[in-house]
């Protein structure tokens, strides 16, 4: 396991804050993730060892600020962790990224409300894993539409908390999470885009599994379909509307963390392809100049450097979740980070495969690239790039990204 290297340093340099020491180091959990990656992929099981190691190292609560009882890590710290873990195991990296994106929403929008603040303190103490329930039968991957809405309890019900029922098409690690952030319409008569985010604790909901997760890749995220049945008090609905949470925090933070983990997967693929090319050259005794495969390694690296530059720029433009600066990052820019990095990393691993040749095409051995390619094929699909590009196109006539402003 090599260290995260350049990306980590670049991002650390970008980050103005982040001087407070974080509890454990990421190298240990990242090595655990790498050691179990093959089994997680083959068996399609949750990366329990990696998540336990992250919990033990105190990394799951890292985005919670000191004022809320946490270590006060920066978004760049979280990106670095996602990169390092995904370099060993893409599924574990995705679980970590989804968890951090949900935690960021709570941190940025808890305000003075007691319930989310208490949850955050408990989450830091116990290393609780938070899952996301935005997808729903009938709306596809569109974050900004919900069908479900809270129904008031019957007048004679001793439990006066509202009923929530959501038919979720995917909840990553739903069966392994301690709590959920669930989007719903504000009320039974509200428009589909008038949404509220509910924080549901371990005792507030039951899950009925309605679909499995037999997928090509990202097999360890266990993003199964569930019907969520919950009872929740009014204090469990975040006071900021989901429209603002989605635009200001959930979407940008998710795309920034995803970019980190996708680059992590591709970085490991590049290491493997390079080792395969070097191994062959050593056997033939040839020179590095003009060696077969090296142009492809260069092409892959070029794409990954571009992806890293986009990510570093997005981090600089966005700042920290909840900051005034974060609220003004233009949605089209957030979209373009996602569409560009998802395709650049996938393309880079394709170049790696060509460089490695059969050593990479084999599904066994130290140079195998199958898992990396299969995991990364989720990137353009999870929130479909075509849908995101359609939204970006509309935004070209409105708040488009500002060229030159951050040069």
């Amino acid at each position: 396991m090599t260290s995260p290297g350049g990306l980590a340093e670049a991002i650390a340099a970008e980050s103005a804050s982040g001087t407070a020491p974080l509890p454990g180091a990421i190298e240990g959990p990242a090595a655990v993730a790498a050691a179990h990656a093959e089994a997680v992929d083959r068996e399609g099981r949750f990366p329990a060892e990696a998540i336990a190691a992250l919990r033990q190292a105190g990394r799951l609560g890292m985005l919670v600020p000191a004022a809320m009882g946490g270590p006060g890590g920066t978004l760049a710290d979280a990106v670095r962790d996602c990169f390092a873990v995904a370099r060993g195991c893409g599924s574990a990296g995705m679980v970590l990224a989804m968890h951090h994106s949900q935690m960021a929403c709570l941190v940025a929008h808890a305000g003075d409300a007691a319930w989310p603040r208490e949850y955050l303190a408990r989450a830091v103490r116990d290393g609780l894993l938070l899952a996301s329930v935005t997808s729903e039968e009938g709306v596809g991957g569109n974050l900004r539409r919900s069908l479900c809405a809270p129904e008031p309890a019957a007048a004679d019900d001793p439990d006066q908390r509202a009923h929530l029922v959501k038919r979720a098409t995917n909840i990553s690690y739903g069966a392994h999470a301690s709590a959920l952030l669930l989007s719903a319409r504000r009320a039974p008569d509200a428009a589909e885009a008038d949404q509220v985010l509910w924080l549901l604790g371990p005792d507030d909901y039951r899950l009925e599994r309605t679909g499995g997760w037999e997928t090509m890749g990202m097999r360890g995220t266990r993003s199964e379909a569930f019907v969520v049945r919950a009872r929740a008090g009014a204090e469990q609905a975040l006071s900021t509307g989901f429209g603002s949470i989605a635009t200001e925090t959930m979407t940008p933070v998710t795309h920034i963390l995803w970019a980190g983990l996708w680059i992590g997967i591709a970085a490991d693929a590049l290491d493997r392809a390079r080792a395969a090319v070097k191994g062959k050259l050593r056997k033939s005794g040839g020179s590095a100049a003009g060696a077969p495969g090296t142009p492809r390694l260069a092409a892959a690296t070029e794409r990954l450097l571009a992806a890293e530059a986009l990510l570093a720029s997005a981090l600089r433009r966005y700042g920290e979740p909840g900051s005034a600066q974060s609220r003004e990052m233009r949605p089209a820019e957030v979209n373009m980070l996602k569409t560009a990095v998802s395709e650049a990393t996938l393309d880079a691993v394709g170049q790696c495969l060509i460089a490695a040749g059969l050593a990479g095409y084999r599904v066994d051995g130290a140079h195998a690239l199958s898992r990396h390619l299969r995991d990364l094929w989720s990137a353009p699909l999870m929130v479909p790039n075509d849908a995101i590009r359609a939204a970006s196109a509309t935004l070209m006539l409105g708040p488009r990204p500002q060229l030159g402003r951050f040069l």
């Binding site: 900004r144 504000r186 008569d189 509200a190 428009a191 589909e192 885009a193 008038d194 900021t240 509307g241 429209g243 603002s244 635009t247 200001e248 609220r327 003004e328 949605p331 939204a391 509309t394 935004l395 006539l397 409105g398 708040p399 488009r400 500002q402």
Partner: protein, 83 residues
């Protein structure tokens, strides 16, 4: 209610799908909490630009500009809109 504010409400009613009737919404109410999305703001902007024959400058294309009926009204006034 000023003519400019009425025009803002008309644009919201015809170009955005909100939970609350745009005619009845509080001037300071957060429109993003009523279902306004970034995509809808583009059409609201186009309608207001056509109505007042002006152009929203790049710096004005922020979420804060579109946050409420009042913020849109103030922006239009600052751009010299005449009802």
């Amino acid at each position: 209610m000023t003519g400019i504010e009425t025009a803002v409400r008309d644009a919201l009613a015809s170009r955005a799908r909100l939970s609350t009737d745009a005619k009845a919404i509080g001037a300071e109410d957060d429109l993003f909490d009523r279902g306004l999305t970034s995509l809808m703001t583009v059409d609201v902007m186009l309608a207001l630009e056509a109505r007042f024959d002006l152009e929203f400058p790049e710096e004005a294309l922020t979420r804060n500009s579109f946050r409420s009926v009042a913020s849109l009204r103030d922006l239009l006034v600052s751009l010299g809109a005449a009802a």
